[in-house]
Symmetry: C2
Subunit: 424 residues, 2 copies
């Protein structure tokens, strides 16, 4: 297959460099340090539909990043978009919320097993920050425990001291434990008894640049008991996994009950809304905090969310994504094996991580990802992937064909370090 | 005129109380402590168009809160909405930005006088937090100076130690000066020489519950010189004033140049986008920080923003809002005078604050606002008001008629403390 070129993306990038620091940001930007072979990647999209996006040069990609999560039902899902458009005609961002907020609150408390209430904002990070504030308000304690390498947004408290712009005070109350290490967590709780407000973690561990880790057997049950015993609020950051494992919440999927649960990405299929769900015990603490934003109750994204959650429940999107992801990742591993590469797949199949084994610095893996991308299969190399319900069997067949070609190309042309012009 | 009742709003509120902490949030919620006579207020909107919204009971209001700022051209402005809808057909939130991001960056650097670059996010608070991080990264210092009572969002660092959910460490690096007090600022800068990363303030002071304050003559010029001399980043929080004083930025309006300037509310007429603008000297610091969000480069709100900024420049929306606001506030003060009330108007007329003088606890003022609201003029009592370009001369005439009736009602029926059922 002919490989793509990106003339228009490069032209746009040159223009972007003048008016946006670093030209692009996030996972393609200079601060992430992901060392992608940028020459193999498009930088700008022109259009998106279903499982695909088209870049500025008109190249089509099957998109396994799904906008980094929001795309769960396929881009421009007709049911979700119809609900949003109907609301837009009436109004969107006004001085008061609409009945849609109430409807969404009722739907979330009916859908998410742990939820007695829901609170709506915009970013996933708005919900994780609010969860910590609620836990502190409820317990009168200030320390929080996070997992090493866990991602809860970009606010200073989620970053590392010494990183640009972060002060020691920003993270002064943070303690860290390895995800899945119950003994380490119990030790921290004992050493800081009466001082810990909250333990916040993702349902399973999905850091960048390393294998994702599922919770060990019995882990969450023991963590739940420990938190209850020690009076610590258990907050699950389900921003990324939410609705890709279980529409009842990822805590329900793993058989426990969180006190607070954060949702965002898949909530409205690309319309922007986030939600913090909580239990009755934390309702008054939540209401005591001044926490608001101009767009948080905008009615169109909330109408989209109501339609999206309703549809995700109806079709069981989580089950579909888990099944499609299983089929795809098994096929990718088989394609690798056929060329002598051991493709290690980790995490849950609806949101998997992959890397070629025995491959220091992701040297072969980066080259393989780049060979896939410039043939129309959009992966990134250092971040977990996502799947959506619009990916068809034919899409998966095409993906596996491209993956096969890409493994052959890596075998033939070597890893990233052997490619001219791919080190930029 | 018949006064409104709110049966459907109350029913919705009862339902909301079950599924959302406090039932509503923000300025109507329990955490704000604004002691409004809630029986006189609608709690839910059903529709918005131009200068109006309609509540859940079908009552029409001329809306002088403008969604707390976003409504600058009238709700559902046809030009802005057409641009957003055209983009929605192509796609919105995808794995890559679109050319619209570049276009918006070019438009902002061409529009905002101080801007060499722009960075886009969602909340106003995303931009104020990023400004602080950039200042810290650029200077290697960690203290920041804020103005007492200034509002920069809801993140913990913007709140007060001791408030629910806020730790001493959240605000450990904050210093405070009175807005407009140059001597106090200079003293803080001297006492903390070499330790201050940033001075952040709004262009003029618009706190809640007190008269808004314009910058004293020469204040900003001296502040600019002081910041330059001491190597402190001067960040202007133009989230609320932006495009209501001057399309070139409120710093240009007051004759100085900020290093960083935060925009959000009026940027896209209700579509959700925010922007941090900066100078070349801070470009590398901005690019060095990992700062991103799933929806920050969504193309539809950015397309709306491009159309909105273009239209605001074309029609000079700031001038229109200043003129309409002047006409309205002069009329309101005259209406008060006719009934023996001294209505004190402060701030800039496009975003004014008002209160009845010699009125402890806003006792008469709250009653007057409530009498206006239940006759179809939507004010709040403790927050600055907003105007938009869709407010017509007839709307102003109607507003002044209602204001007159409301003053008469207060004279007749007394202040808030004299009303049964208005203390909830």
């Amino acid at each position: 297959m002919k490989t793509y070129t990106y003339e228009k993306s490069r032209e746009l990038f040159k223009r972007a460099l003048k008016v946006v620091p670093g030209g692009v940001y996030g996972h393609l930007g200079p601060a992430e340090g992901c060392f992608m072979p940028v020459d193999a990647f498009p930088f700008f999209a022109s259009r998106a539909q279903g499982a695909y996006f088209w870049d500025a040069d008109g190249n089509r990609f099957i998109d396994y990043m799904c906008a980094f999560g929001p795309n769960i039902l396929g881009y421009n899902d007709p049911d979700v978009d119809a609900a949003a458009h109907a609301q837009l005609k009436e109004g969107n961002c006004a001085s008061l919320p609409t009945a849609k907020m109430v409807e969404f609150g009722e739907l979330m408390t009916d859908t998410v097993e742990m939820a007695d209430w829901a609170f709506f904002c915009k970013n996933g990070g708005d919900t994780t920050a609010f969860a910590i504030m609620i836990a502190r308000a409820a317990t009168g304690r200030k320390k929080i425990v996070l997992t090493r390498g866990g991602y809860h947004g970009v606010a200073p408290w989620t970053q590392k001291a010494g990183h640009p712009g972060i002060t020691p005070e920003d993270v002064a109350n943070n303690l860290y434990a390895e995800f899945g290490d119950y003994a380490a967590l119990e030790r921290l709780f004992t050493e800081n008894r009466g001082e810990i407000a909250c333990f916040m973690a993702t349902p399973y561990h999905h850091p960048v640049f390393e294998d994702n880790r599922l919770p060990p057997d019995g882990y969450w049950k023991k963590v739940r008991e420990l938190c209850t015993r020690e009076g610590v609020v258990l907050a699950v950051d389900d921003v990324r996994c939410g609705f890709r494992l279980d529409t009842r919440g990822s805590d329900a999927h793993y058989g426990f009950k969180a006190d607070l649960e954060c949702f965002c990405k898949a909530l409205a299929n690309g319309w922007n809304v986030s939600a913090l769900c909580g239990t009755d015990a934390l309702r008054d603490a939540a209401a005591s905090i001044m926490y608001t934003g101009s767009y948080w109750l905008s009615a169109a994204p909330i109408a989209a969310a109501v339609a999206c959650v309703t549809k995700m429940r109806r079709i069981d999107s989580a089950k579909i994504c888990l099944e499609k992801g299983t089929k795809l990742t098994e096929g990718l591993a088989a394609a690798g094996k056929a060329h002598g590469f051991n493709l290690v797949v980790s995490g849950e199949p609806s949101m998997w991580f992959m890397r070629i084994a025995d491959d220091p610095d992701f040297d072969h893996h980066q080259a393989w990802v780049a060979e896939c991308v410039r043939r129309g299969v959009y992966f990134t190399n250092h971040h977990n992937l996502f799947i959506n319900t619009a990916v068809s069997d034919e899409d998966i067949r095409f993906t596996l064909e491209i993956a096969d070609e890409a493994f052959a190309a890596v075998k033939r042309d070597g890893p990233l370090s052997a490619r001219k012009g791919w080190q930029s």
